[in-house]
C-alpha cells in the first residue's frame, strides 16, 4: 500500500463520516460509545447480531494489530509468513475482558464490534469479502482510518486508544493457552514464540555484579 493510497482512504472517510461522528456529545467514553451506537442506528443491529459476528470482528482486529499467515491477515493485504495474533487464540479472552470491564453495559463486546463494523461500513461501504464482519473485510489501510476516526471522536477516543494495547497484550502473553481453572498452560504460547521469550521462571542467571566507573562489571 502506497502512502498516497493511505492518504486517499483517510481523506474519503473523514469527509463522509466525521461530521456525523463528531456531533455525538461525549463525556464518558464507554457509556457514550453506547449512545454513539444508538445514534447511528447500529445498536439494534448489534443486539441482533449472530454470535459469530463479534468473534469475526475481533479476529479482524487481531490481524490488524499482529498480522500473521491467517485468512484475516491475508484479506487485509498485510500478512506475514509466520503466524500472528489470530492464531494466538485469545479472541475469546479479549471478548470476556471487554465484557467484564463494563459490568453495567451488557455484552459490551457486541457493541464494540458494532462500532468497528459501523465505522467500517462508512469507510468502505462496498468492500466485499469472505467475512461477515465489515471491519474484518477492510484493507489494513482502511482499518487505520477506522482508528483515525475513533481517535478524532470524543465518544470513541478511549475505546480506540485501549483496543490495540489490549490486543497486543493478549497476543504476546500466554492468554490464549492459559487455563484459569488450573492456573497453568495448555500449550506453548504463540506470542512467546513470536518474540523469542524464554518463558516464565523462578530465577535466571543474569546477575552481572555492581556498576563501578570505568569498569562494566565487578
Amino acid at each position: 500500500m502506497s502512502v498516497e493510497g493511505r492518504s486517499a482512504a483517510s481523506g474519503r472517510s473523514r469527509r463522509s463520516f466525521l461530521g456525523t461522528a463528531l456531533s455525538v456529545g461525549a463525556i464518558a467514553a464507554l457509556v457514550e460509545a453506547q449512545t454513539f451506537l444508538r445514534g447511528q442506528g447500529w445498536l439494534e443491529a448489534a443486539q441482533g447480531a449472530t454470535i459469530d459476528l463479534p468473534r469475526d470482528t475481533f479476529n479482524g482486529l487481531f490481524a490488524f494489530v499482529v498480522p500473521g499467515s491467517d485468512a484475516y491477515s491475508i484479506a487485509q493485504g498485510v500478512s506475514t509468513a509466520d503466524r500472528g495474533g489470530v492464531d494466538a487464540g485469545a479472541a475469546d479472552v479479549l471478548i470476556a475482558t471487554v465484557d467484564e470491564s463494563t459490568p453495567f453495559v451488557p455484552s459490551f463486546s457486541t457493541q464494540v464490534a458494532a462500532i468497528l463494523n459501523g465505522l467500517a461500513q462508512s469507510v468502505n461501504p462496498g468492500r466485499s469479502g469472505a467475512f461477515i464482519s465489515p471491519f474484518a473485510r477492510l484493507s489494513f489501510a482502511e482499518k487505520t482510518v477506522v482508528f483515525q476516526i475513533m481517535d478524532a471522536t470524543d465518544a470513541l477516543k478511549l475505546l480506540g486508544g485501549l483496543l490495540p494495547p489490549f490486543v497486543a497484550f493478549f497476543s504476546y502473553s500466554e492468554a490464549g493457552v492459559y487455563d484459569p481453572a488450573t492456573r497453568s498452560l495448555t500449550g506453548t504460547p504463540l506470542g512467546w514464540q513470536l518474540c523469542d521469550y524464554q518463558g516464565v521462571a523462578d530465577g535466571r542467571d543474569e546477575f552481572l555484579g555492581y556498576f563501578t566507573p570505568g569498569r562494566d562489571r565487578e
Partner: protein, 589 residues
C-alpha cells in the same frame, strides 16, 4: 473506639499503621481489595493471571475474582494503573526507591531553582525530610541495585552521552546511577542460576532475577514472607505491623481487615474526623467505627473520591485537583545485541535531569511490552499522526506500533531496550479526579472520573518531556540501535500524585504542612495524593513512605501526647532476624 483507623493498606497506609502500632496504639487498617496472605499461592508469573485488567489478581477490583472490577470513568484515552489489595501498587512496582529532587522543596537555593514548579513547592525543606528517608531506607531496606544486561547497556549509553556517575543518594546534578531499590540484593544462588532446583530459600537469598516484578514478587520460594526479595509493603511493613508486639517493646499488633471498602468518613459536632464506615465485599455488611485520628491512604484516585462521597468540605475546590502523573512517555530501541529486557529486576538504573525529569530503562514481560508499544496518542506511523505536537527527535517511528511494525519490534523481546520518560510536570488544576455524573454509582457510591488535559499541559511540562525524549533517542543511537521508536503516550498513569496536595498556600492545597486536612482536624492523608507535586520526576513511593512516617510521628505527638522517635531511635529493619522470628511464630506465610 480505635486510636487510629487507616484506610488503605498500600505503599503509604501500611507505613503509618506499622509506625503507630510500634508506638503501642490500637490501629485498625482497612483494605478494600484482597488480603494476599499467601503470595506463593495467590500470585503466579503469568501475565494473563496477574495483569488482565478485568480479571487479573492485580486489577482494581474486589477480592472475589469472579466479580467484575470496579469501574472508573476515564475522560480521555488513559491507562490507569491501579491495583487493590494489601500492598497496593507496591505489589507490582519495580522497587525503585529514589529520593525526591531537592528543588521541589522550600529550602532549595540552587542556581537552577527556577527550573522547578515554584508555585507548588512542598511546604517545608528537603532537609526536614531526610531523617524520614533514612528511616524508611533502613526499614524496607533500600540498597544499590545490581546489574543485569539492560542496566549494563544503559550505563554504557549514559557514559556515551558524557554524563557523570552520581554517587550520593540525593539528586545533585544531571547524572546517571544504579537505582536505589527496595529489593534485597542477590546472594547465594540468586541471580546466578536458572535451575529451579537451586532457587529455593535459603540456598537463594534476595532477588533471583526472574523478571516478574510486574506480576508480584514471591521469590525466593520457601522464604519467610518478610524475606521475599522485593519489598512491597505486603512483605515488609504489613508483617511488621501484624507482629508489632513481638519486635517492638511497647508494640501492639494492628487489626487488618481486607475486602473492606471504606465508603464514608464522618465528622463530629466540631468538624473533626470521628468515624469510618466500610462495606465488606463478601457479605455486603456495613460497619462503622470511631477513632481518635483517621488516615486516608486509598490512593490518588480513591482518597479524593472517598472525601467527596463523604461530603467533606472543599472550600477552595482543590480536592482531587492538581494531579501530576510525570506525563510518561517511552522510547524503545531495537538493538543489535541481547538486552536482557525480560530478565532481572524491572529497573536497576536511571538518569536524573534535575528540573526536567528522569529516564529509566524498564524491562517487561512480552505481553506488557507489546501492549505499551501499542498505546499512543500519536496515531499510526505512516498513516496519521493524530495532530499531536511533539517531535521524533531522531526516532524512526512515532506513534502506536501496529501490524508489521509491532511484529518487527517484537521479533525478539530481549533485543529491545526500552527507556521510560518521567517528566517533572507542573501541578495544574485542570487535571484531577472528580465524581462521575455519567457512570452509574457502584456499591461504594459515585465512581471517580479521571480527567487529564494532556494536550494542554504547561509549556514547561511539554518542554521537559520533549527534552527527555531527545536524550533517550540519543542514548539509544549511541548504543547502535537499529531502529528507535517513540511511542508518544496519552496519559499512562503509573506514577500519580498531588490530588490532595499539601501546600504552602491555603488557596491551592487540601493539606497543611503536617499532612492534616486544612478543614477537618484529626484527618490525615498518607498516600501519593498528599505529595505537594510530582517530586521532580523520580518514582514517588519512597517519598510517600518518608512522608507517611513523618505523618505518623505528627499524629502520635499531636493527638496521643507522644514523643518523636525518628531522630532518637534506630529503626528495626523488616529483614531483621527478630522480625523473621516474629513472622514465623505468628504463622504468616
Amino acid at each position: 473506639m480505635r486510636d487510629v483507623i487507616v484506610v488503605g493498606a498500600g505503599g503509604g497506609g501500611s507505613v503509618v499503621a506499622k509506625e503507630l502500632a510500634a508506638r503501642g496504639l490500637h490501629v485498625l487498617l482497612l483494605e478494600g481489595g484482597p488480603r494476599f496472605a499467601d503470595l506463593e499461592h495467590d500470585w503466579s508469573h503469568f501475565e494473563s493471571d496477574a495483569n488482565n485488567p478485568s480479571s487479573g489478581y492485580f486489577r482494581f477490583g474486589p477480592a472475589d475474582r469472579s466479580q467484575p472490577p470496579w469501574v472508573r470513568e476515564l475522560a480521555q484515552s488513559t491507562l490507569l494503573v491501579q491495583l487493590s489489595g494489601v500492598g497496593g501498587t507496591t505489589n507490582h512496582y519495580q522497587g525503585n526507591s529514589p529520593r525526591a529532587a531537592p528543588g521541589v522543596f522550600t529550602d532549595y537555593r540552587g542556581a537552577d531553582r527556577n527550573a522547578y514548579d515554584r508555585a507548588h513547592l512542598f511546604p517545608f525543606g528537603y532537609r526536614k525530610l531526610l531523617p524520614y528517608y533514612e528511616w524508611v531506607e533502613s526499614t524496607l531496606p533500600v540498597a544499590t541495585a545490581p546489574m543485569g544486561l539492560k542496566e549494563e547497556h544503559f550505563f554504557r549509553g549514559a557514559e556515551l552521552l558524557g554524563l557523570p556517575l552520581e554517587k550520593t543518594k540525593d539528586i545533585t546534578r544531571t547524572a546517571f546511577r544504579p537505582q536505589q531499590n527496595a529489593i534485597l540484593q542477590p546472594h547465594g544462588t540468586a541471580g546466578r542460576t536458572s535451575d529451579p532446583r537451586h532457587l529455593r530459600f535459603p540456598q537463594a537469598h534476595g532477588c533471583t532475577f526472574c523478571g516478574h516484578c510486574s506480576q508480584g514478587c514471591f521469590e525466593p520460594l520457601g522464604a519467610p514472607i518478610n524475606l521475599k526479595a522485593k519489598r512491597s509493603t505486603s512483605v515488609s511493613y504489613i508483617p511488621m505491623a501484624l507482629t508489632a508486639d513481638r519486635w517492638a517493646r511497647r508494640g501492639k499488633p494492628i487489626t487488618l481487615i481486607a475486602d473492606a471498602f471504606a465508603v464514608r468518613v464522618d465528622t463530629d459536632g466540631h468538624g473533626a474526623a470521628r468515624s469510618v464506615t466500610w462495606r465488606l465485599g463478601r457479605t455486603g455488611e456495613v460497619h462503622t467505627e470511631d477513632a481518635r485520628a483517621i488516615v486516608l491512604a486509598c490512593g490518588t484516585v480513591e482518597t479524593p473520591r472517598l472525601w467527596l462521597n463523604s461530603g467533606l468540605p472543599n472550600p477552595n475546590g482543590w480536592v482531587g485537583r492538581g494531579l501530576t502523573d510525570h506525563f510518561v512517555d517511552a522510547v524503545t530501541g531495537m538493538m543489535p545485541f541481547d538486552t536482557g529486557s525480560s530478565r532481572g529486576p524491572g529497573c536497576g538504573a536511571r538518569i536524573d535531569f534535575p528540573g526536567v525529569g528522569m529516564l529509566e530503562p524498564v524491562g517487561e514481560t512480552p505481553g506488557l511490552r507489546a501492549a505499551l508499544s501499542a498505546f499512543s496518542d500519536a496515531g499510526i506511523p505512516g498513516f496519521y499522526d493524530n495532530g499531536l505536537p511533539g517531535g521524533a527527535h531522531g526516532a524512526d517511528l512515532v506513534g502506536r506500533l501496529l501490524g508489521k511494525d509491532l511484529k518487527e519490534a517484537m521479533a525478539n523481546v530481549d533485543r529491545l531496550l526500552n527507556i521510560d520518560v518521567f517528566t517533572d510536570d507542573d501541578v495544574e488544576m485542570q487535571n484531577g479526579v472528580s465524581l462521575s455524573s455519567s457512570f452509574p454509582p457502584d456499591e461504594h457510591g459515585p465512581v471517580p472520573r479521571i480527567e487529564i488535559h494532556h494536550r494542554n499541559r504547561s509549556a514547561r511540562t511539554i518542554g521537559n518531556r520533549e527534552f527527555l525524549v531527545g536524550q533517550a533517542v540519543s542514548l539509544l543511537r549511541k548504543l547502535g540501535a537499529k531502529k528507535v521508536y517513540r511511542i508518544n503516550k496519552p496519559p499512562f498513569i503509573i506514577h500519580s500524585h498531588s490530588t490532595m496536595r499539601m501546600g504552602l498556600s491555603a488557596d491551592d492545597s487540601v493539606l497543611d504542612g503536617s499532612a492534616e486536612a486544612r478543614w477537618v482536624k484529626r484527618l490525615f492523608v498518607a498516600d501519593n495524593s498528599a505529595l505537594a507535586n510530582g517530586i521532580g520526576g523520580p518514582n514517588p513511593t519512597l517519598t510517600t513512605q518518608a512522608l507517611a512516617t513523618r505523618t505518623a510521628e505528627i499524629i502520635y505527638i499531636r493527638y496521643f501526647g507522644g514523643h518523636p522517635w525518628v531522630d532518637r531511635e534506630e529503626p528495626v529493619s523488616s529483614v531483621d532476624p527478630v522480625v523473621t522470628r516474629a513472622v514465623v511464630r505468628a504463622g504468616l506465610a
